[in-house]
């Protein structure tokens, strides 16, 4: 079974799933399934009946079946995602696991009477990294429109890192961490790139076809104007910054332990030997 602990939206990245026979626990803020009409007229009740009630539910049912009795059973959802992503050589459980995560993240990205503008620190970073709120909107619209086939558009918080596993920024500063818009195909999400997701929009056709048919641009506009919950994005940003600061602190502590300047003399011999020995060997060969 995929196990779940209750979470708040702020700690969303550590959430896992509790699946009960009635499949409750999703999107506490929207209290599915009782309020599937809550996002009307921007996202219809019918869409939610299928999108949440069939697509999302099927991912949960199928993952539970897939992991039963395997080593993934009992792991947290994020761990299952990471293990089955398998550095890009994707294993069967990935699609279901990642899609569960993606959809939960999507529902919580929206609220009735959403839209408007972000405020506070989120707005500051948006202005810093996109020039303006309109700049972000344009980038996000473009990513969502040009994700060909099925997939997702994301706003993420990106730590300054090289794309190699053991690279570290020697002088991390808040300036290096950026807000970025990315898009991903099918079930892939930015967790696998070690970004911190802040906002997502589902652009699989099932997300908009009943309400908008082929008119994906209209769906994207409606999401941004009427549905997005910038408060949720703000609290996710806060949580991401806390996590980044904690991991930088951990890295600094590891660095302190592994200080190469404290190599003992015996160790040096192992690497460099001594000049006198080398000279003798050379003479012997003649």
């Amino acid at each position: 079974m995929v196990m779940v602990a209750a979470t708040t939206t702020a700690s969303h990245l550590t959430s896992t799933f509790l699946s009960t026979p009635d499949f409750c626990g999703l999107s506490r803020s929207l209290q599915w399934p009782h309020m599937q009409h809550a996002l009307e007229p921007h996202m219809s009740k019918e869409t939610l009946e299928y999108h949440w009630g069939k697509h999302h539910r099927a991912y949960v049912d199928n993952l539970n079946k897939q992991i039963e009795g395997t080593e993934l059973d009992g792991m947290s959802l994020e761990s299952i995602i990471s293990a089955s992503y398998n550095k890009g050589d994707i294993l069967p459980a990935f699609n279901n696991a990642a899609q569960i995560w993606n959809h939960e993240f999507f529902w919580e990205s929206m609220k009735p009477d959403g839209g408007g503008k972000p405020t506070g620190e989120l707005l500051e970073l948006i202005n810093r990294d996109f020039g303006s709120f309109e700049g972000l909107i344009n980038k996000f619209k473009s990513a969502a429109t040009t994700q060909f086939g099925s997939g997702w558009a994301w706003l993420v918080y990106k730590e300054h890192k090289l794309d190699v596993p053991n690279a570290r920024n020697p002088r991390p500063s808040e300036e290096d961490n950026k807000l970025v818009v990315v898009k991903s195909p099918n079930a892939v999400n930015p967790l696998v790139w070690e970004y911190h997701p802040l906002l997502t929009l589902d652009v699989w056709e099932h997300a908009y076809y009943l309400d908008f048919e082929n008119r994906r641009p209209d769906y994207i506009l409606t999401f941004l104007d009427k549905l997005v919950s910038w408060e949720t994005v703000s609290s996710r940003l806060e949580a991401a910054k806390v996590r980044v600061a904690e991991s930088e602190k951990e890295m600094a502590e590891i660095d302190a332990d592994e200080d190469l300047d404290t190599i003992e003399p015996e160790d040096t011999d192992m690497y460099f030997g001594s000049e006198a020995e080398d000279a003798e060997d050379f003479l012997d060969d003649e």
Binding site: F148, G149, S150, W204, E205, N214
Partner: protein
């Protein structure tokens, strides 16, 4: 006097057209269906057929035409980086146009023979390779249902080996990306837009029903052309 002017204008007009043809690119237009939008019901609804043809396929063509005109422009200017950047738009939209053009020919109303099993050489080849049409259909339905996200499931013939294969492709990748000798005989669109309004999330029901309107006569023609 007037007659001479007329002749000159006509000649000028033809000259302009000639110049357009040698300078411009060959652009594409939406092919007509040989049946009405509602003629495939109840297997595929008229609403879906109309949207699928007039909106989705048309959009691929519009964007493909735009991309190849931009490519032509970039190439004539020697702008390599723009030419390379356009490749994904060309693949997506060109692939979409190619695939859907095949798809409309793969379908036909029941009263025109839709769903009638293949006879002749294709029928025998199917029995040889898959033991029966039912087994082939089961295999294609399983593979089509298993496509993650958007894509197609194909029955193809490898024209070098003269062998039938079932393949899937992602997004609008043409079948050729799975093998240079593969010729499509039957392609089934499993993008959600192909079935969602009617079948919602139940892709397997769409796959089960579409065989009632598959045009095996067309598939046989293509097969015979490649293999006989």
């Amino acid at each position: 006097m007037a007659l001479r002017t007329l002749a000159t204008r006509k000649t000028l007009g033809e000259l302009c057209k000639f110049q357009q043809q040698i300078r411009g690119v060959q652009t594409f237009t939406l092919p007509d269906l040989s049946y009405d939008y509602g003629a495939l019901e109840p297997a595929i609804s008229g609403e879906i057929m109309q949207l699928h043809h007039q909106k989705h396929h048309q959009t691929y063509i519009t964007n493909y035409n735009k991309a190849i005109e931009q490519l032509d422009d970039a190439m004539s200017k020697g702008d390599a980086s723009t030419a390379v950047k356009l490749q994904s738009a060309i693949n997506f939209n060109g692939g979409g146009h190619v695939n859907h053009s095949i798809f409309w020919k793969n379908l036909t109303p029941v009263k025109e023979g839709g769903g009638e099993p293949p006879h002749g050489s294709l029928g025998s080849a199917i029995n040889e390779s898959f033991s029966s049409l039912e087994k082939l259909i089961a295999k294609m339905n399983a593979e089509g249902a298993a496509v993650q996200g958007s894509g197609w499931v194909w029955l193809a013939v490898n024209k070098e080996l003269k062998r039938l294969v079932v393949e899937t492709t992602a997004n609008q990748d043409p079948l050729i990306t799975k093998g240079p000798s593969l010729v499509p005989l039957v392609g089934i669109d499993v993008w959600e837009h192909a079935y969602y309004l009617q079948y919602k999330n139940v892709r397997p029901d769409y796959l089960k029903n579409i065989w009632k309107v598959i045009n095996w006569k067309y598939a046989s023609q293509v097969y015979e052309k490649e293999c006989l």
